[in-house]
């Protein structure tokens, strides 16, 4: 099958050639490795927080047309964004706690046929 690539090398194994150059890493990609640092992530989070506060503040400057009563609530979209994201994660965890089974849950029950 075309979807079966060579097995991945164990963690820590370099694909570098004897000359030291990694044959498979794009030079442009290396420059993005700063995003992995905790400091970078903190700055990204801070920037998003500032942006959120800024666009929320615009509610008092720019008139936003609303069709319904819910939409008229000041900052309703910010509230939906914040609360909705938290709710998705919380309820998602509940779904997992209620419905998660072993990965081979369906495979353990029969000796062949319709299910797998």
């Amino acid at each position: 099958m075309n979807d079966t690539p060579p097995a991945p090398k164990p963690a820590g194994t370099s694909t570098a050639s004897p000359s030291g150059a990694d044959q498979h890493t794009h030079a442009g990609a290396r420059s993005l490795s700063w995003t992995e640092s905790k400091t970078a992530r903190d700055w990204i989070g801070l920037a998003l927080g500032v942006l959120t506060a800024f666009v929320w503040a615009l509610e008092w400057v720019i008139h936003r047309h609303a069709y319904g009563e819910i939409e008229k609530i000041t900052g309703v979209f910010v509230l939906f964004g914040l609360g909705g994201m938290v709710l998705v994660v919380i309820l998602g965890r509940m779904v997992r706690s209620l419905f998660a089974k072993a990965p081979d849950h369906y495979s353990t029950q029969r000796s062949g046929g319709f299910d797998g």
Binding site: M1, N2, D3, P5, A7, P8, P10, A11, T13, H24, T25, H26, G28, A29, R30, L32, E36, R41, D42, G45, L48, G49, L51, T52, V55, W56, I62, H65, A66, Y67, G68, I70, E71, F77, L79, F80, G81, L82, G84, M85, V86, V88, V89, L91, G92, R93, V95, R96, F99, A100, K101, A102, P103, Y106, S107, Q109, R110, F114, D115, G116
Partner: protein, 596 residues
């Protein structure tokens, strides 16, 4: 004798359904052993289909008379036009994406499947729709099974059973509907200049209800949806991209044609948009996340169909159009990851941007589109449905859709690209995707941006896209209100996501089977079948034993009576037996003589 000259100009091209070249391409591919030629067919077929689409004229054509039935193979109007176009575009993109693949079955079935979907869109009656409806099922099942292995084949069988069930239900409904409507197999209203706001089929009748059920199965209605999550992630990297484009959008088209304005669809759609969000949030298989996300996006379209106003139907059609592109793009990105790393599990990936930068960028474009980021295609389509819901005073539905939009941001907008390409370093250093995959992703990404750009007149972009829609209503997506509201939603959602990651409140995915409605037929249904088979086996064994026992008893009795040492022979001498046999024969002959 006069000469007969064949002239291409004499052919009425606008009478030919665009499905024909694609289906013929599929059949030709099936018989073509040379992979390179199959790939060329995969490009030529949609090119020819596009030519036919461009030459088509509004109206109904291509009538085929079979016995007492007339099949209308081509109905071209505002609704079929836009769905037909995106299916043709998707066919071409799929062919480019799968250029490296050497599976003849996948090449052929992908084209047959696409052709059947195009045929279904342009079908002018229920019988023609049924033919293409079933062909999509038969052609696509191979794509589910193509990776081989017992689990994938069984998933394909389950997929086939459900798709065929939808087809049989459709045929039953069509027959009942025709019986109650003077034998008419007409399929839905013509989308000429406006919509009546009332559904064409009456769901309160048996025929209408069965037709709605058939459409609902393929549209992944709540409780009928899990075949999508069961089958799509099983397919190959190419197969999943193909599968994501057609079946569900064909069902949305059918709903729009037959049930536009049917109010219960509004609430069904709202539920469809919301509930998959929670399952997608905890799935480890990123293609399964995309499958749930696809389900959620279908909910938006169903809401639009249910509202039934021109704005809502435009929104449903537009959202279906762009969804094929950005969802296809996301599946393409995950397909590339699968090809290079052999996994799409979130707990096994991360840091792939280092060696797959282009795939990362294209995935990010798809994520921005599904998140309805301004200047990306989802922004200009989703807005219409939300606005339509608000204008018709469906506030609860509006709120549910807005929440579902946040869910889409989380699942496909953030989780999929973040877990696959960023997050922690998984130490995997796969090569970038093959050029053909990057080309297909690039085209899909370009369209996902281009269709949303508010360009000047004559430059295309959003205005050209809106002109494709069924109704001309002059909607403007880029109002200050809308742009501000959407940026607020996105910024706040991204901030919440970042904070949950920062303070380790975000749950790590782990391998698991998340039970869904497929439990009903995979556990309960399968258990019932096993139990019924055991009971039937026991009853049959018992019956056979009983018959056998009775037979034995009868045989022993006969033997005891008529064997040489049996009771009859002991009671009667041979001479007497012969005499009485002769007397009996004479009596019988005399009786027969006098009876004649």
């Amino acid at each position: 004798m006069g000469e007969t000259a064949f002239s291409l100009s004499a052919i009425q091209w606008h009478h030919i359904t665009p499905a024909l070249p694609i289906i013929l391409g599929g059949l030709l591919s099936a018989a073509m052993p040379i992979a390179g030629l199959r790939k060329l067919i995969g490009l030529l077929a949609p090119a020819l289909a596009l030519t036919l689409w461009l030459s088509a004229q509004t109206g109904s054509y291509g009538a085929l008379v079979i016995g007492e039935f007339t099949l209308q193979t081509l109905r071209y109007d505002g609704l079929s036009r836009i769905f037909g176009l995106i299916f043709i575009i998707a066919t071409a993109l799929n062919s480019i994406y799968g250029w490296h693949d050497r599976d003849r079955g996948q090449d052929a079935c992908a084209l047959l499947y696409a052709g059947a979907a195009v045929g279904g869109v342009f079908a002018g009656d229920l019988l023609t729709l049924f033919v293409f409806w079933e062909l999509t099922a038969l052609a696509s099942v191979y794509l589910v099974m193509a990776r081989g292995g017992a689990e994938n084949i069984n998933a394909g069988l389950r997929y086939l059973a459900i798709q065929v069930l939808s087809g049989v239900t459709l045929l039953s409904g069509a027959v009942l509907w025709a019986g109650a409507n003077g034998g008419s197999f007409a399929f839905g209203a013509d989308f000429a200049t406006s919509t009546s706001g009332e559904p064409f089929f009456d769901p309160s009748t048996p025929g209408g209800a069965l037709i709605l059920l058939a459409f609902g199965i393929k549209a992944a209605f709540p409780l009928l949806h899990n075949w999508v999550q069961d089958s799509y992630p099983r397919a190959s990297s190419v197969g999943a991209v193909v599968l994501s484009a057609f079946t569900t959008k064909l069902a949305i088209y059918a709903l729009a044609r037959g049930f536009a304005g049917y109010e219960p669809l509004i609430y069904a759609g709202a539920i469809m948009a919301v509930f998959p969000v929670f399952f997608a949030a905890v799935e480890n298989d990123l293609r399964r996340v995309l499958a749930y996300s696809l389900n959620s996006q279908l909910g938006f379209m169903v809401v639009g169909v249910g509202i039934g106003t021109e704005l809502a139907l435009n929104g449903a059609a537009a959202h279906a159009f762009v969804s094929v592109l950005y969802k296809g793009l996301l599946f393409m990105a995950m397909g590339a990851v699968l090809l290079r790393t052999s996994t799409v599990n979130a707990n096994q990936l991360g840091g792939l941007f280092k060696t797959m930068p282009f795939t990362t960028v294209f995935c990010a474009v798809g994520a921005a589109a599904i998140s309805a980021f301004p200047l990306f295609s989802g922004f200009v389509s989703k807005a219409m449905i939300l606005t339509a819901a608000a204008k018709e005073h469906h506030e609860l539905v509006w709120a549910m859709l807005l929440f579902a939009a946040v869910g889409a941001v989380h699942n496909a907008g953030l989780k999929v690209p973040y877990r696959a390409f960023f997050d922690r370093d998984s130490q995997r250093r796969p090569k970038e995707a093959p050029f053909n995959m990057l080309l297909a992703m690039g085209i899909a990404a370009f369209l996902s941006i281009y269709l949303a750009l508010p360009l000047p007149q004559g430059w295309g972009g959003m205005s050209a896209f809106y002109r494709l829609l069924p109704f001309d209503i002059g909607y403007d997506a880029y109002t200050v209100s809308h742009v501000l509201a959407q940026i607020q939603l996105l910024a706040a959602a991204a901030f919440a996501f970042a904070m949950m990651l920062r303070f380790r409140l975000y749950p790590q995915e782990r391998p698991a089977t998340i039970l869904d409605t497929d439990w009903v037929y995979r556990r309960l249904g399968y258990g019932f079948v096993i139990w019924a088979a055991a009971i039937t086996g026991q009853l049959w064994s018992g019956a056979m034993s009983g018959i056998g026992l009775a037979g034995d008893v009868l045989a022993r009795r006969i033997h005891a009576a008529f064997a040489p040492a049996g009771a009859v022979n002991r009671m009667i001498s041979d001479g007497a037996a012969a005499m009485w046999t002769g007397v009996l024969l004479a009596v019988t002959l005399l009786a027969a003589l006098f009876a004649a």
